[in-house]
Amino acid sequence: MILEINDLKVTIGPHTIVEIEHLSLSAGTRLGIVGESGSGKTMTATSLVGLQPNEAVVEGSIRFAGRELVGLSHRRLAEIRGREVGVIFQDPAKALNPMMRIGRQVAEAIRLHMDLSSGEVRARVLDLLGQVHLPDAQALLRRYPHQLSGGQQQRVLIAIAIACDPKLLIADEPTTALDVTVQNGILTLLRELSVSRNMSLLFVSHDLGVIQAISELVAVVYGGHLVEFGPTAQVIGHPRHRYTQALVSANPGIADDEHLGDVVGRRLDVIRGSVPPLGKFPSGCRFRGRCTSELDICAQPPEVSQTGGGHSFKCWNPIEGVDQARGAVDATG
């Protein structure tokens, strides 16, 4: 396991933002973290490498490549970030320095963590820009961020993030600000880099459609709790937790060609209410109050149920699972 989280707890003052008993990621695997705004998905991802807000306290255990990250100094964490863990964010324009040429920004990431001559740095910068499929790397070195499109900027940031061959790349909504064709280019690139470098990917998004396109595994987060986890196709195709199901049915998908006309103008399923503000989540199952299948017992903290195939969920009144035979048919057909 490249990453293993046990009893992770992130708190701000009296409020518990994230509480995850267990989550692990093997080398080269792509995991999506999905949930609404305010569900704790970004906090989960950023707390892994010390990028949570200053006032947040991280407890528990985060083992990365055999080392414990919880309790490390800011300085040690900063060394690990950039070298062993790369991070990219939603808005590429904000992540780049508008005053600095592209070449220097990529070189900076390399210089910070590796002891190379300037010739070697330059060669590595050109190589990285090629790896993220930016054409005409030579000319690009001298450009400023504003001269690049959003997609090109995100590619530069990916080049910076992978500059020191990290084992894990954390991507927080990296394609949300991009057009759909550009988005697909970035998703393809991330998938390709993950495979060719055996690099794990932690991809945070509010959109199950994007998660389905990039990640093999998905973790559904609500109220800072991991409510469902498993192979993406299985979790989206046959969700067990009521929250996951609600997220799936609120998503305006595109029907197949024959059924396009059937769904136009048909109301979408909505999730009742809205994500409560910090500290206002109910006890027990966090989805209580918004769930339409609530039982009295939901006031108690739900246990983890395993369903085989690495699929698990925490729900007192789950959606009935498909039997093995049906599952097998689905997997092949």
Binding site: D207, A250, P252, G253, I254, A255, V264, G265, R267
Partner: protein, 257 residues
Amino acid sequence: MPLVDVRGLHFRYPSGGGRHNPWTLEGLDLSIEHGSSVGIVGESGSGKSTLVRILCGILIHQRGDVEFDGRPLEDWLASRPRELRRRNQIVFQSPRRSLDPRMSIRKSLSQPVRAIERRIPSDDEMTGWLERVGLTDEVLPRFPHQLSGGQLQRVGVARALSVGPEVLYADEPTSALDVSVQAQVLNLFMDIRNQLGLTLVMVSHDLAVISRICEQVIVMRDGQIVEAGRMTHVLSQPSDPYTAALVRSARLVSLEA
């Protein structure tokens, strides 16, 4: 006769459009029928927002004929601008940016009626508008920062509907919203269209959204209309290679409906 009829529309930003709009709208033809729902799709900088701003009289085109209800837009703007505004309303992408942060919801909500009907609406009236979009009069004394994105977008819709428009333009109305809130706002658009028989013109970069709301679709790229027609037809049998690429891309990142 179509409600909106556009022939040979030409528009260019005086500045040349800059990096984001480096094109001219050139020779656009389109028509929008009474009561139809039209989706305008395309990537950012394709000219779709500019087009709807021209159609509802916010931006002025330089050449070509744009007719609303049988009369040229220039005539409307010259002789009956308030009637044009009353009959054509628009909801913008960022509800937070389209409401004055220093104005209470009561005041923001009353603006179109003040400007168009030259009167101040009563609280009872405004409560009625709010109820139509699933809000209550509790929001009237509040300020934009006290409301969620979904609530603000409902205020935006209520405000647009307050003057009884025939055409409701919506420019990326759910792009800034979460999936679950997006579903609520999309349902709201479907409901008001059914209740009021409005013509709906929705701009979106998200083909999935358009495929659930609009019977007609216009695909734009670089200031041109590359394809237009029935949504079911355009999505299942795109005739333009760009449309085909767009549909393929959108399907890759969409769940199946």
